[in-house]
Amino acid sequence: MQRVVETSEVPVQQVTGSSAAGERRMEIRRMVIGRLRDLALIPALVAMGAVFSLTTSDFLTQQNLLNILQQNAVLGIAAIGATFVIISAGIDLSVGSTIGAAGIAASAVMLHAHSIALGIAAGIGAGFLTGSTLGLLIAFFELTPFVVTLAGMFFASGLTVYLTKGSTLGPLPFWLDNLVFRKVLGIPAAAIITVTLFVLAQLALTRTTWGRRVQLLGANSETARISGVDVRFVTWSVYAVAGVFSGIAGVELVASLSAANADTGAPFLLPVIGAVIIGGTSLFGGQGSIARTGLGVLFLAVLINGLSLLGFQVYDQQAVEGAVILLAVALDILLHRKGYVDTA
């Protein structure tokens, strides 16, 4: 799939050759807009929270805030994996169907083998298998991620529906509540798991060689290749990692519903990508952070929760969510075009 790009991807001053003072002004402007972009999300989030607090008394309650954290664990965990892929300048459209497939795999094993641990392993394993296969096709056969993950999405969901004949697997052992609802120090387990994964992933991105290679790959794959990065391995690995996170998310999803159905994962595709982009990671790759994605997830979560409490029907919620995501993507592209976004 090809994008239409404006011809000037190059910052203006190189073309017009302005004076040193003009260059300095441009530099400052870029810095300011870059900072604003970095930091704008937090004020926006706070502002939105304030609006909701004022318009409905149900928003700013302990229970509701904890609900927001717990309800968006699945979205958050899946978004971690998606962030790695997008930083590497790829895209993974199979995230929704992988979540569904992992949930089914986990449930099937739990019900037949009567072992929760095995079930969780199966779910994560199914996610890894899916991601790894897609990663192989993309890295070693050099197929476009868009097409491969699109086909993967169709195949995974078709296979899952076929194997389950559309039926629901359950009920799952109630012990699984401990992974979701059980409160530790007042915070739901789902939120603790999610935040832990976020911290680990962010450390992996910034502190490990692998993480730096992912960023380098996304910034410029040719440069990466020249500087000795095993492009194929790193490419494969981001999809495999994304698969693992989708697998964890799938397990978390069926744990929260106590039953698994092939359809349940599908609605996550758009919000996952949306959260990553709203968080500030660019679809063009090369820069971004897991932490930012966390903010993006929070933003969408608060938005949907507030609209729901205010009585917006789900169709209108989806329209607003879609509009916000489109706006975020449009903004991302616009800023990139004007050269305000560094590929850091």
């Binding site: 911290v199 910034t206 932490a291």
Partner: protein, 329 residues
């Protein structure tokens, strides 16, 4: 020291935790309002759901109960979150039409933990949670009523058995109820089963193709009035569309009792419609919530509206209160 983003994340988490702590200290949450409020969670919105909602709202108004309404758009995860929001809003009770009977159990248990009575209507929930009422139609019974009506016509019928979505317990129940009752009726012969996934185009194509494969079909069991336009169009397209009374008429029996079904009966396109008495769902559920006692399982029997009893019975069927063109909201 720490990376910029780690700093960002830690600040955000600390701020969040602080906020939660402050609020926890400051408020015990929104006080439940004086008027009883019931959270109503539907799986989707269509003709019959709107009738169910009307039944609930009317009865609630009579009982001075406020209603919060949400629709999950066929997403079980959405429904779970919407019910969770109801719980955190301290509703007096929850009424839900489950998108997925098994996946609603976790919401029921969450309500149980919060001490909020939960009633399910229309679709039966899976096991594991405590409900104060389970008010559904009787899918098996309705399917049997269709077979019994066909049997009462006292002539041999080659029947096309349409089936709804294979993941829908109601669809399976209606099919199985029909098959069981049809066994004891020598006149009924099922020549083909047709899964439709509740999709009108699939039904249209399927019925057309069925006549192709089995030209001898002279009876159709359509398990929902939603597919009625498809059935009628297929009959017209295959030149099998004759009104009741004509020798070449194909016997059609449906379930639901919505406005299109009633209209089709009035204009003599179909023979009978087993109406689901959705008007009774809401009141039963609301009463059970207000009483908040042990579980009541109610299977509301369908009401057969037919050519034979139309005049006497149509006023009891919810769909007959509306005109055929549902364009007005």
């Amino acid at each position: 020291m720490l990376g910029k983003h780690i700093r960002l994340m830690l600040i955000a988490t600390a701020a969040g935790a602080l906020a939660v702590a402050v609020i926890a200290a400051g408020s015990a949450g929104a006080k439940p309002s004086a008027t009883p409020t019931i959270g109503v969670s539907f799986d989707l919105l269509n003709q019959i759901r709107k009738a169910e909602l009307t039944g609930i709202k009317q009865y609630a108004a009579k009982k001075h109960v406020k209603i919060l309404f949400s629709v999950a758009n066929n997403d079980a995860n959405q429904q779970s979150q919407q019910i969770q929001n109801f719980i955190s809003q301290h509703v007096t009770g929850v009424i839900a039409i489950a998108q997925n009977g098994d996946q609603i159990v976790s919401s029921i248990r969450a309500a149980n933990r919060a001490g909020i009575p939960f009633a399910t209507i229309d679709r039966a929930p899976g096991k594991g949670g405590k409900v104060v009422a389970q008010v559904t139609g009787n899918a098996l019974g309705d399917g049997a009523k269709v077979a019994n009506y066909m049997c009462s016509l006292h002539r041999p019928l080659n029947v096309l058995l349409m089936v709804g979505a294979l993941t829908d317990a109601n669809a399976i129940g209606r099919r199985d109820g029909f098959l069981k009752a049809a066994k004891s009726c020598a006149n009924i012969k099922v020549v083909q089963q047709l899964p439709t996934n509740w999709d009108p185009t699939t039904a249209l194509n399927g019925v057309t193709n069925a006549f192709q494969a089995h030209p001898e079909i002279d009876g159709i069991f359509d398990p929902s009035d939603y597919l009625l336009p498809a059935v009628v169009s297929a009959l017209k397209a295959t030149q099998h569309f004759y009104p009741v009374g004509n020798a070449k008429h194909v016997t059609v029996v449906t379930i639901d009792g919505d406005n299109n079904g009633c209209y089709a009966l009035r204009t003599k396109w179909i023979d009978a419609d087993v109406a689901t008495q959705v008007g009774k769902f809401g009141p039963s559920a609301i009463d059970a919530i207000l009483a908040n006692k042990a579980a009541k399982v109610v299977k509301v029997p369908g009401l057969t509206l037919s050519q034979q009893n139309y005049t006497a019975t149509h006023s009891s069927v919810w769909g007959c209160a509306y005109g055929p063109n549902g364009f007005k909201k």
